[in-house]
Symmetry: C2
């Protein structure tokens, strides 16, 4: 019997290491050709499945697939697209089955965060609901680090390393300028709901190189007076300080701090970040000179400073997903299980998807200091191994030698098209 | 006769590699102990000289001084402070001489950009004007790359590499998201007057990995309609594009684009960056989803991704400054002279300070494409060697192991203090 083909797709915000998971899936599948035929990737996530826009990864050389391990972004394209519940729109699911049947797909690997786990969970129920035999395995990925069950999420360690390194570097800069110029540096980082990424800014300060850094978490309601008094005190003591602010910080009124109703000269609303808002406070209330930065996509695309731990775990999750499938599992997700802190040891675990989908893991209260502006030793112990190790990409002509795949389309077999 | 001591100070905005120049000065001086006594560093630039706040670099170990080669920021503190003309405030100059005489200083090394070269030029004239024998050598440094005579400025190559790498990475990210989400990524970089740093964003796209990138230079008046039509075309062709915008971009009216009179809900003026202004245009006029980032201090502090060429040249400038002093020179600056492009070869040159001070080097017109949104091959040939090579710092516990010096103060010898 000819082995079934596999479908793999990337979903949601991409990361510096999501392609390492892709490499884990493709390379592991290639090692089991008697059990898995070709790996077809969805062009732009699940949309590629719905529109029968499949990429034939067997057309990519071993070298190109290996290069995915050091290439950021989503090599096959990602999407922000959530399947509707089965009873609301059964045609979507019927279409998936039509495509999977046409291309003889028996394995479904979906690489994403919490929303994507929900999509994967729904697909994993197709076998039971519509009688199409399919094994669906979710491959975890999210810079937000907010998936439950797993100790941490592939993608997070690298953004954490980027934020810690950048904060340390920029803080050395402001320290040099403070006497006659900038005294407060503000860095805005991602994290709409959970403060994991902002917490990483706290790692910039270590016993070998202490730095005055205040963190604003989305988990802690912003207290303007308390914040300004802390900035004031830090500048009086050290001459300067840095502030790492999560984009999701809210005031006591529950509104995003970034949503300050900025208007341009013509009265048009302007979507500012939260960093300029915090900078404005520092300027208007304390009359201190500031600089601010917004890391945005740079932080989650910064493969050049990826964490070696993160790259290894991202690859391992892709590999484990295929191995789980070969063992007959369905509706599960490989996880990272922390075995010990010193030395850091971890192993691959397994979580049922219904325990993962649509659940957000916030920072534990004991990871944030009592004053609400810093990270505790427990948090440091948790974060330290995740940013450990460098895994530099190769360079050519001064730039990282990132791969762009050929992404050859698989010939369509269905007469009907599908509108997204 | 006891050899004269040297004074070294850092001035203006710091860089990822200004400390490499400091290492070049100190290590070279240490090799010539019969000719140069101690190197005293000014705490916070020239202010340290005026206030007799000197740092005794001889108290730092060879290992710490060597670590300066991989540590960003200004290890001794920098300042934004310009000496007044001699006839406006002779007391400043008299004070400098008092301090130099008290500490037996015969060499003056000043590490900065155009404004600092002016300070160094004034100090170099002290011997003639006030009869105090002193050799003043300027050590070039500026991320803006706008010093004349020298082929390029130490500090620029590393920020250029950071911007090129970050643009390439973030552009891979937006490419993955474009179908259902973000289509335009906007990165704001430094460069108030000259577009050198923005130009580096153009290097992200190369024959091996072409990317649709538009650059907004301060040298080119912003043409809104033309810009929007280019963004529109890029998104229609590729599905996405990136925009690298210099903070100094001005409209046809000569006003900074960033100065759009933003007001918060209470009517307070908000100093926004130019990136959100460009993002607002893309959203309001083209209805395209965007993301924007502001690199700010991160770009000039990013020692983790410094250019190897830049580190080598920065060190060489510090070393050459001391060697020029030993040869009896005064009022000069070492320069980088480009000898050939392929292979890239350079050597140390020398420029008289009066040809350097207060002169800004803009981008040549033939470095910008005719449409005003890109860089020419000539520009690429100029930039390519400057971002060449990686010079990674050592890491400890997942973070760059940057040094903080002891910075032990030299005992004051003068009774009078000096008010800045």
């Amino acid at each position: 019997m000819k082995p079934k083909n596999a479908f793999y797709a990337q979903s949601g915000g991409v990361t510096a290491v999501i392609n390492a998971s892709a490499a884990g899936v493709v390379e592991t599948a290639r090692k089991h050709k008697s059990r898995i035929g070709k790996v077809f990737a969805g062009r732009n996530g699940i949309i590629g499945a719905l529109t029968e826009d499949l990429i034939d990864t067997s057309r990519e050389s071993a070298r190109s697939i290996a290069a995915l391990k050091h290439t950021p972004g989503g090599a096959f394209g990602s999407c922000r697209y959530k399947l509707k519940p089965f009873d609301k729109d059964p045609t979507q699911y019927q279409r998936l089955i039509d495509v999977f049947r046409a291309h003889d797909i028996g394995y479904f690997f979906y690489n994403g965060g919490g929303d994507s786990a929900d999509t994967c969970l729904k697909v994993s129920q197709l076998a039971g609901k519509l009688g199409y035999p399919l094994q669906a395995i979710h491959v975890p990925k999210t810079v937000d680090n907010d998936l439950p069950v797993t100790d941490n999420c592939p993608g997070f360690g690298s953004v954490a390393k980027y934020v810690a390194v950048s904060t340390r570097e920029a803080t050395l800069d402001v320290a040099s300028m403070a006497l006659t110029s900038t005294k407060v540096f503000i860095l805005e980082v991602m994290g709409r709901h959970a403060g994991w990424i902002a917490a990483a800014g706290g790692m910039a300060s270590s016993p070998e190189l202490e730095q005055p850094i205040l963190i604003l978490f989305p988990e802690v309601a912003f207290d303007q007076a308390k914040f300004l008094s802390r900035v004031d005190a830090a500048v009086k003591t050290h001459g300067y300080c840095s502030v790492v602010v999560s984009e999701g910080v809210k005031g006591a009124d529950g509104k995003f701090l970034s949503d300050q109703g900025l208007r341009d000269a013509f009265g048009h609303a302007q979507l500012g970040g939260v960093a300029p808002v915090v900078a404005g406070l520092v300027k208007n209330e304390l009359d201190l000179k500031y600089h601010w930065a917004v890391a945005d996509y740079m932080q989650r695309a910064a493969r050049h400073i990826a964490s070696k731990t993160d790259v290894a775990q991202s690859y391992a999750m892709g590999k484990a997903a295929v191995e789980f499938a070969l063992k007959g599992h369905n509706s599960v997700m490989p996880t990272v299980q922390r075995v010990s802190n010193k030395p850091y040891k971890w192993k691959v675990g397994m979580a049922p998807l219904d325990k993962v989908a649509n659940v957000e893991k916030m920072m534990p209260a004991d990871f944030i200091t009592a004053d609400g502006f810093g990270i505790t030793d427990r948090c440091r112990q948790y974060l330290a191994p995740l940013i450990q190790g460098e895994d530099y990409p190769p360079y050519r002509n001064g730039l990282p030698d990132y791969v762009r795949l050929k992404n050859v389309a698989v010939a369509k077999k269905l007469a009907a098209s599908f509108k997204i």
